[in-house]
Amino acid sequence: MTTRKPGDAFSIQRFLERWGVVVAFVLLFAASCWNQGFDFLNAENIRALLNSNAPVGILAVGMTLVIISAGIDLSVGSMVVLSAAVGLTAVNWLIGKEWSEASAVWIGVGTTLLVGLAAGSLNGALVVVGRIAPFIATLGGLAAYRSMALAIAEAGEIRSQSDTIFRRFGREGIPLAWEVPGVEGAESTFRGLLNSGGKPLTLPYSIIVFFFVAIVAQWFLSRSRFGRHLIAVGANETAARYAGISVEWVRFRVYAVMGLLAGLAGFLQASRMNSVSTSGLGVAAELDAIAAVVIGGTSLRGGFGRVWGTVLGVLILGMITNMLTISGVSPYWQGAVKGAVIVLAVLVQRGSRA
């Protein structure tokens, strides 16, 4: 759905409104390469960048959908920690009950996703049935879900009792084979090129899940009935109702999906750490997610948005952090730089939409 009018002359303003995020991504990528040389292009480095940003990326994808519906979800970070805490507690409890590690972990995964879905559904119900403004309803969630997680572990850390299986999802991946049939030594040549330091190169599950979620979300946004309804509701709720769309059902579903994705992000985080820190996990995740959405060019007023822009937004934020850390900028100043980037993104894209 484009808001450009046909016949409009090309202008830099319009170009940046639409493609600014791509320009920013390319510039930052180039700057990182220039700054860090080929260290940045190191496959391990890029993998780490993607891997560490995958959970917040999943949240940002969900947030894109929520914001397109002209809503907001401030409770995502708290849903992450609540679902992860409940899920991991379930795993530990089942292992304590002498269940096999595999079945305990799978039930724990299911529990994590279900808790996320339930928390998101409650947000949706408050917004739709309770007619509470999304900002307020999810502000309540932000406080309440975190507090429930803190209560479960008495504000401490929950350590996984699963020694092998649970941690796999966040740390391992599909091994990448670089063998080219008939060419002796191709694998080592590629590794040399990618500078992976001789370690077996893998594609982490987190990254696969992140891209899978992003691709499915982009598909649903632009090609499905739900996406069309979502855009219609976000662009003009009244007109959507007059067109026969069940506005309530659309809005409820988007919050429920957001909760499910928060559960997914929570599971990946917990798995990577093999533990859940109830006071630290997911703190301020809603801000990172909203920032990525805004940088990606999705209108905060609703009715227009794109998941691929959000993915670039996540990577832009990740690269900035990466670059600042490598350049030795104090982590305390990194927030200020991020803040400036967010404001700049909105300024550039402020036109007919933002």
Partner: protein, 562 residues
């Protein structure tokens, strides 16, 4: 001359009882009250004046060289049909619209109000048709909004004085509203009183009343009219917009008639009666005639024959909760029923209630079976569709593409894999089909629909519902904001649909349109059906006047006096 209207001494005049107010039956023979700033305003006679004002919107000339003068100490009524330009004129006077050509003079000096607040500061207050109260503030706070009495060196609002003043103002209007009620809890009529009291609280020299009695009962209305006279006697210029012509005849010192954006007649009260320039006295019926006075063009298609048999749609004692009631209406296949009435008569609300957008009372029968629709989609599945009057706000999604707008109500038909995929080529084909069928000028159907002209947007707004293959079509203001050429095409489309057997209800404030298009016209007033004009009646020369009289309640008065 720079009248200082902000000082305290000006305010006190307003709160004096009516009897003590300075008397001036007209600006010419009474002394100009000192608080008006004195000076030459009574010399020229005009306090507020529009000179050769023309306002053009894309494709429409809303006002055409209108010159009109409002005098201090005079109630000046402006009448005209819906769309005649009254609202635009008031918007120009109150600063929310700038004239394309021409100027507005206040006390003889040219003005350029950038926004309503400028006009208000200059002493022009308007009681709006749409109410502008702050719903979370109480009655007293709303009445004194912007001119709150202060204490403690201006740092705090003097609540006691605020309540006292609000109470006095409301008492002048004969209202005993509880001052501590929140404005959001008030009924429309009560809110209207607060709105008027708010206007009185400001020290305006010109007070514009836009349809102030539309939502008031008879007693409330007469109290308001008395208050308007008092305002006039205080030496203010009172501008009065009303569809209630008997009120106009009763209260106005001067009446201007607008038609199609131009000033066509002016009447002045002399020896107690309104008279035209030749000195002939006029009544409300001749006013109605002057408002209409227009021959129907040939842009209306020939009317087909309505088919006999059972009503496609029948309403029994139907109404939109709180907005209309007791409506009995039936539409047969192939029939076009017009629904006339003034703005606020409850026509749109009734239509919205039929398709389940509002709570309703009474029964809807579709092809003989009683139905109650839970929403637009439910009604659509049963074959009843409603095309909204508010094309930009409700009827279409202006930021979405023409294709997306076109297929939104019928999207289920293009859904594949349980809705996970939309058949986009199917969508394009449907849009293309309707573009061809209705000759819609749309170069890029994938571009936002806002890039199309009003007429082409309206064709899409209609087509998207026809695509759902309805049996009953309710279309509200089908040609609002549409140029004449496209109007004729839309009339042709509606007439053709009826010939093919669709039952149509057309709601319109443009009487020529209803008369030219409908087999029968029903008239609504204040939420009720008050009359019907059949096919023979529509062919008669006086039908437009008849409808205007019914819609404004004049026919009842006539019967009462007869």
């Amino acid at each position: 001359m720079a009248p200082d209207l902000g000082s305290k001494s000006d305010l006190t005049v307003v709160f004096q009882p009516v009897q003590d107010a300075p008397r001036a039956t007209s600006a010419d023979d009474g002394p100009t009250p000192s608080w008006l700033g004195g000076g030459d305003i009574s010399g020229s006679g005009a306090l507020l004046e529009a000179r050769a004002v023309t306002v053009e919107y894309p494709g429409v000339r809303a006002l055409d060289r209108v010159t009109i003068a409002f005098r201090a100490g005079e109630i000046h009524a402006v009448v005209g049909e819906n769309g005649a330009g009254k609202s635009t004129l008031m918007k120009v006077l109150s600063g929310s619209v700038r004239p394309t050509i021409g100027e507005v003079l206040l006390a003889g000096r040219s003005t350029d109000f950038g926004q309503p607040a400028d006009a208000l500061r200059a002493g022009i207050a308007m009681v709006h048709q749409e109410l502008n109260l702050v719903p979370t503030l109480d009655v007293a706070e709303n009445v004194t909004l912007g001119c709150e009495p202060r204490r403690a060196f201006g740092l705090a609002v003097d609540r006691a004085a605020q309540r006292r003043r609000a109470g006095e103002l409301l008492a002048l209007l004969g209202s005993d509203l509880d001052l501590s009620r929140e404005a959001g809890q008030l009924s429309v009529a009560e809110a209207q009183f607060v709105e008027i009291a708010k206007c009185l609280a400001s020290e305006a020299r010109v007070v514009i009343f836009d349809e102030p009695t539309a939502v008031l009962g008879e007693q409330e209305a007469s109290r308001l009219l008395a208050r308007m006279r008092a305002l006039r006697d205080e030496g203010r210029a009172v501008v009065f917009i009303s569809h209630h012509l008997e009120e106009v005849v009763a209260v106005a010192d001067r009446v201007s008639v607008l038609r199609d954006g131009a000033l066509v007649q002016e009447y002045v009260r002399a020896d107690g009666l309104l008279r035209d320039s030749a000195g002939v006295a006029v009544d409300e019926h001749s006013l109605a005639g002057a408002m209409v006075g227009r021959a129907l063009g040939s842009i209306y298609p020939e009317k087909g024959a309505a088919r006999d048999g059972v009503a496609a749609l029948r309403l029994r004692g139907f109404g939109a909760l709180g907005r209309s009631s007791g409506i009995d209406l039936e539409v047969r296949r192939g029939e076009i029923v017009g629904l006339a009435g003034l703005v606020g008569a409850g026509r749109t609300e009734t239509a919205e209630a039929i398709v389940g957008l509002r709570a309703s009372t009474g029964a809807v029968e579709l092809d003989g079976g009683v139905r109650a629709f839970s929403g637009v989609k439910d009604a659509m599945r049963a074959g009843v569709v409603y095309v909204s009057e508010d094309r930009k706000g409700r009827g279409l999604h202006v930021t979405l593409s023409s294709i997306a707008n076109m297929t939104l109500p019928s999207l289920d038909r293009h859904a594949r894999l349980g809705g996970a995929r939309i058949d986009e080529s199917g969508e394009r084909a449907v849009a293309r089909r309707w573009i061809d069928a209705f000759a819609i000028r749309c170069a890029r159907p994938s571009a936002p629909i806002s890039s199309l002209s009003g007429g082409n947007q309206q064709k899409f707004a209609l087509a998207r519902w026809l695509e759902t293959q309805p049996r009953v079509l309710i279309i509200d203001e089908p040609t609002r904001g549409v140029d004449v050429g496209a109007k004729a095409e839309i009339y042709r489309i509606i007439a053709d649909l009826a010939v093919k057997g669709l039952a149509c209800v057309v709601i319109s404030s443009e009487l020529p349109e209803l008369i030219g298009l409908s087999h029968r016209v029903l008239v609504m007033r204040e939420g009720r059906l008050v009359g019907e004009v059949d096919r023979e009646g529509l062919a008669a020369a006086n039908c437009e006047e008849r409808i205007v009289r019914m819609a404004s309640g004049l026919s009842e008065m006539k019967e009462r006096t007869a």
